[in-house]
Amino acid sequence: MTIANIDAAWIDAALTAARPQAVAALLRYFRDLDTAEEAFQDACLRALKAWPKNGPPRDPTAWLILVGRNAALDGVRKQSKSSPLPPEELISDLEDAEATLVDRLDGDHYRDDVLRLLFICCHPDLPATQQVAVALRIVSGLSVRQIARAFLVGESAMEQRITRAKARIGAADVPFGAPGAEERAERLNAVAAMVYLVFNEGYSAGGQELLTRGALCDEAIRLARLLLRLFPGEPEIMGLTALLLLQHARAPARFDADGAVVLLEDQDRGLWNGRMIAEGLALIDKAVRHRRPGPYLVQAAIAAEHDRAERPEDTNWARIDLLYGDLEQLAPSPVVTLNRAVAVAKVAGPEAALEMIEPLAPKLSGYFHFFGLRGGLLLQLGRKDEARVAFDQAIALANTAAEAAHIRLHLDRLMKESAGG
């Protein structure tokens, strides 16, 4: 690889890393998402020309903000010759900003800017999938085409969806003042949930979609790291980052060469990413010292129990059962109870687990994993006919081809057994 190649990769990574902070700061000046995005694009183009010649600036983010701001103001000035001046509130802090910009680019400003930007993306008026789409467009800078591919919709449909979401955000009253401590904590929760959603979009992909949607997991981890740098003392952000790292560490072993699901207990643990696991475990270790466990941290601790086991039979299921008990208290949901039942089946047997999930049936009647687990437990108990019914229901509810194929495998085995017997 030549030096020029390394530089291009470095610049690419620097632009990606600076994007949330730079777009957020530009949004503060221009109070318009499209203007802020265009200004950032302009600054990136100039960086691609200037940095290889002059070397990267000491603070790439500050450079991009300053250059992006000037580029956008140039545009406004040119327009103003032929049209009336834009209203004052569209260009805030015009006079003093230039002189004091660098002074103001301290951590506190970045933090509130990025939080505001992320918070705008998880506007409560938007449905969750739109929150994720807008965040990927504005915060992560993915192209509409990339996002459309990740969501398995057409490019023009996604373009429309994002434009509509932006319009709704623009019409809503977005608070631009510095948030107070309490408000900030509330926002941080919403933002953490949005990062978690981005991750799940990628994690639930399988087979063919893996290439396009797997990148969403990397992106979610990058956003979680960004949050962690902005809020280094928040145990739940440590927990969220640890959770994503510990789950994603298993990605290389989750699917076989044909794109079929490989269950946790069948995975080649040698393929797991040791460095991600080490970082996740260290973050849990650190977060636990705060003695304020939250749902993300407990979920991370559960993932850690799996990652720690060198062989499936080394898994500490009793501890996982206890942790799910904690999670049921912190964030009760039928899905959490369903997951706990997997641990209960290992500790106390399939009968106890089946008893535990039966009351969940009315709430989870549309949930793939409920019928998958039910079928598996019935099969262990030798109740084959009932198992077959449950597996049939699971296939009908499968979200991805890989999920359906996995259940199909169980069914085929059942058919073969009954044919042979």
């Binding site: 990574a13 890393a17 790439p60 990397d218 280094p232 990413n273 460095r275 260290a282 650190k286």
Partner: protein, 140 residues
């Protein structure tokens, strides 16, 4: 003379590398390390996990563990210990012992290691000692 080479880069740039890009950089570094190791000039190598995974034990009248590393910029990294501990608690205990032994100012940053290759530090220092003896012999 042995030199410690401490690696600096923008953490958010390195953090934005994809796993494939990261692996490519590590492979290139690995080639350099292999050359040095073959020449017995390679000591211990450690890659630190991100700063967000670190905690700091701040010295003072009362020893205090805080989320770190937020050492003041005036304070510089002077060296590092590599210790084998079962968990963070044990590592902090070691740092406490060090802080008690050297109670002046400053802080110890406790950072888990991602990669640790013991290398041939002993071999290298033996070689260097041998060369020094040779130089002294030539001077005499």
């Amino acid at each position: 003379m042995l030199y410690a080479i401490l690696c600096y880069n923008f953490e958010d740039v390195v953090g934005a590398w994809s796993p494939a890009e990261d692996a490519a950089v590590m492979a290139r570094l690995g080639a350099v390390e292999a050359g040095l190791a073959a020449a017995e000039r390679m000591g211990a190598t450690a890659r630190l996990l991100p700063t967000t995974a670190a905690v700091t034990l701040r010295k003072g009248r009362e020893l205090m563990v805080i989320d770190g590393p937020f050492a003041e910029t005036k304070e510089q990294l002077l060296g590092f210990y590599v210790v084998d501990c079962t968990d963070l608690e044990a590592a902090i205990a070691v740092a406490r012992d060090l802080a008690v032994a050297n109670p002046d100012r400053g802080a110890y940053e406790i950072r888990p290691l991602a990669v640790y290759r013991p290398g041939s530090l002993d071999g290298a220092s033996r070689q260097v000692r041998g060369r020094e003896a040779h130089v002294r012999g030539a001077g005499a």
